[in-house]
C-alpha cells in the first residue's frame, strides 16, 4: 500500500466522496477551531472544576496535531469537545465550519482500547461505521476487505476479536477508521495499550496509511512526547487547562520511526517539551 491506487473500486468511492466535500482539500482553511473555550464541570458541594480555560486553537486542514500533557491536563476533554461529546461552558468550537455534532459524518475516532465489538468478526467490525451510515451490504463488504488488506489482515477477516492479538485488533480498528474515509481523525492515545514492539509496528502502519494519500486532519492525544514528535506536524502542550506550548515539528516526511529518535530536531523538541512538563 505505498500509493493511492486510484484504479481500485474502493478507492474510487473515496475520491468521489472527496469531490463532494471540497473543504477537505489541504490548505482550504481551518478544519477545527476553538475560540476562548472553557470547560467546567459543576461538582455538587464543591466549586466548579475547570478542566480547560480560555483555549484558542486553530487546526488547519491536513495538519497532524498532537496534544500532549500529563494525565488530567484536559487533553481528552479537548478531543471530546471536537467530537461533540462534551459541550463548552464558554466559547465556541467549530469543526469544518459547523457545530461538532453536525460534522460527525466526517469524523474518524480511535481509542486506546480497540473497542471492537466482540460479537462481530474482524470484517464486520470494519463495516460497523459504514453500517451506521447506511451503506449497502455489498459496498460495505468491499470497502472493509480493501482496508483489511491495507493493514495485512485480509486472512483474518472471519476471526472473532478474541482470536486476534492486541496488535491485530488495533489494526482492525485502523481499518475501521479508514473505511469511513474521514476527513478528520480524532485519536485518543490509540497506541497506549500496546506493548512496545507491537506499538512500533502499528504506529508505522498508521503513518504509512496517512502518508499514502491526501493528508487527513489528525488530532492525536498522547502522553508520550516521543510519539507526538515522531508522528505529528505540530505538538500542542497542555497543562492546567491551558496551552503551555505550541510548536511545529518540522521534520521531513516520509519519516522513519526506527531512526527518528536520533534526529537532532527530535531531540531538541523532546528536551524543550519535557522541561515544561515538569
Amino acid at each position: 500500500m505505498a500509493t493511492n491506487e486510484s484504479g481500485d473500486p474502493a478507492m474510487t468511492l473515496t475520491s468521489a466522496d472527496r469531490q463532494q466535500r471540497p473543504q477537505s482539500a489541504p490548505g482550504a482553511g481551518a478544519a477545527i477551531s476553538l475560540n476562548a473555550v472553557t470547560v467546567a464541570y459543576s461538582n455538587p458541594g464543591h466549586d466548579a472544576r475547570t478542566v480547560l480555560s480560555g483555549i484558542d486553537l486553530t487546526i488547519p486542514s491536513g495538519e497532524f496535531t498532537a496534544l500532549v500533557g500529563r494525565s488530567g491536563c484536559g487533553k481528552t476533554t479537548l478531543l471530546n469537545l471536537i467530537a461533540g461529546l462534551v459541550d463548552p461552558s464558554a466559547g465556541s468550537v467549530s469543526v469544518r465550519g459547523t457545530e461538532p455534532r453536525d460534522a460527525r459524518g466526517h469524523l474518524g475516532f480511535m481509542l486506546a482500547r480497540d473497542a471492537l465489538l466482540p460479537w462481530r468478526t474482524a470484517r464486520r467490525n470494519v463495516e460497523y461505521g459504514l453500517e451506521l451510515r447506511g451503506i449497502a451490504r455489498a459496498k460495505r463488504r468491499e470497502i472493509a476487505l480493501h482496508w483489511l488488506e491495507a493493514v495485512q489482515l485480509a486472512h483474518a477477516q472471519d476471526h472473532w476479536p478474541w482470536q486476534l492479538s492486541q496488535g491485530m485488533r488495533q489494526r482492525v480498528a485502523l481499518a475501521r477508521t479508514w473505511a469511513l474515509d474521514p476527513s478528520v481523525l480524532l485519536m485518543d492515545e490509540p497506541f497506549a495499550a500496546l506493548d512496545v514492539n507491537t506499538r512500533v509496528s502499528v504506529q508505522a502502519k498508521f503513518l504509512e496509511l496517512w502518508q499514502a494519500e491526501v493528508h487527513r486532519t489528525v488530532v492525536f492525544v498522547t502522553h508520550d512526547l516521543g510519539e507526538a514528535i515522531a508522528l505529528a506536524d505540530r505538538v500542542v502542550l497542555l497543562g492546567g487547562g491551558r496551552v503551555l506550548d505550541d510548536v511545529a515539528v518540522e521534520i521531513d516526511r516520509p519519516r522513519d520511526l526506527a531512526t527518528i529518535s536520533s534526529d537532532r530536531r527530535y531531540q531538541q523538541l523532546y528536551d524543550r517539551l519535557r522541561e515544561q512538563l515538569h
Binding site: L85, L111, L132, H159
Partner: protein, 286 residues
C-alpha cells in the same frame, strides 16, 4: 499461546500469530476424547447413586414405609406409563412450564432491557421490584388457585412470577454491561438510538439474557410443580401429592427422578442453543 509480532512492518503479514484456535481448525480429536471421559464418569456416577439407593432399600436403612428401591420405582413408572396416567400428567406439567417460561421470559426481557435503559425509572421501581422478588412466591399459590381455579392458569401464573424476575434482572444487568468505549465510539460514528440498541446494547445483553433464561426454565418447572402440589386437576406435582398421601413412596421417588431427568434435559437443550448463538465468545466465557 504467546502473542508475538514482528516489529518490522514489511514482515507483518507473515508474523501474525493467531492466539487460540482459528475457525474450522478446532482440535476436534482432543475435544471429543475429553468429552467422552466426562460422559463415562457421569454415567458411572449415576449408576453408583442408583446402586446406593438400591442398597439402602434392600438393607431397609430408612423406615420400611420409605424404603422403596429403584426397581420398585421403575415398575411404578412403567405401570403409570401403560395406563396413560404418566403421559397426560407429564404433558399437563410441561405445557404449563413452557407457557410460563415463554410468556414470562419475553415479558422479563422487555422489562429488563427497558429498566436497563431508563435508570431513573429503575431507581423509582427498585425497592418494589426487590420486595416482589423477595416474596415467597409459593405462598401466592393458594391465592392464585382460588382466583384462577385448579386448571393450567394458576400453575402458569405461579411459575411466571418466578421466571419474570429472574429474566428481568438478567436482561437489566446485561444491558448495563455495555462498554463505555463502545458507546463513545458509536456516538462519534453517528449511531442513532435505534441503531445503538440493536447493534450494541441488545447483543451485549444476550449472554446474560440466555443465562437467565436457562435458570428461568428450571424455576418455571419448580413453580409449576409447587403449585400442583398445593392443588391442581392434573400434573406431576399433583401425582406426587396423591402418592404421598397414600404412602406410595415408589411413585413419589419415580416422579422425582423423572422431574430431575426432565430438568437436566431442558438445561442441556438450552446450553446447546446458547453455544450456537454465542459462538463469538472466547471458549472460557461460554
Amino acid at each position: 499461546m504467546p502473542i508475538t509480532e514482528d516489529s518490522r512492518p514489511s514482515l507483518l503479514a507473515d508474523a501474525d500469530q493467531v492466539p487460540g484456535r482459528s475457525p474450522g481448525s478446532r482440535s476436534r480429536v482432543g475435544l471429543t476424547r475429553e468429552t467422552l471421559v466426562v460422559r463415562v464418569l457421569q454415567v458411572s456416577l449415576g449408576l453408583a447413586l442408583v446402586g446406593l439407593w438400591q442398597l439402602a432399600a434392600d438393607l431397609k436403612w430408612p423406615d420400611p414405609v420409605l424404603a422403596k428401591s429403584p426397581v420398585q420405582s421403575w415398575d411404578y413408572l412403567v405401570g403409570a406409563a401403560r395406563s396413560g396416567e404418566l403421559l397426560s400428567n407429564t404433558w399437563a406439567t410441561m405445557s404449563a412450564v413452557l407457557i410460563a417460561w415463554v410468556l414470562a421470559g419475553l415479558a422479563g426481557v422487555v422489562a429488563g432491557l427497558a429498566l436497563g435503559l431508563m435508570p431513573r425509572t429503575e431507581r423509582v421501581l427498585n425497592p418494589y421490584l426487590d420486595a416482589a422478588n423477595a416474596m415467597p412466591r409459593i405462598a401466592l399459590a393458594p391465592l392464585l388457585i382460588v382466583a384462577l381455579g385448579i386448571g393450567q392458569s394458576a400453575k402458569v401464573a405461579v411459575a411466571s412470577t418466578l421466571v419474570f424476575f429472574i429474566v428481568l434482572s438478567g436482561a437489566r444487568a446485561g444491558v448495563r454491561s455495555a462498554d463505555a468505549e463502545w458507546l463513545r465510539l458509536s456516538a462519534v460514528l453517528g449511531a442513532r438510538k435505534r441503531q445503538l440498541f440493536f447493534k450494541v446494547l441488545l447483543p451485549v445483553a444476550t449472554p446474560a439474557i440466555f443465562a437467565a433464561l436457562r435458570l428461568g426454565i428450571i424455576y418455571s418447572l419448580l413453580g409449576v410443580v409447587g403449585s400442583e402440589l398445593i392443588s391442581a386437576r392434573d400434573g406431576l406435582g399433583q401425582l406426587i401429592a396423591y402418592d404421598s398421601s397414600v404412602f406410595q413412596m415408589d411413585g413419589v421417588y419415580g416422579i422425582l427422578v423423572l422431574l430431575a431427568v426432565i430438568a437436566v434435559i431442558l438445561n442441556q437443550l438450552m446450553s446447546l442453543l446458547e453455544r450456537r448463538l454465542l459462538l463469538w465468545q472466547p471458549p472460557a466465557d461460554r
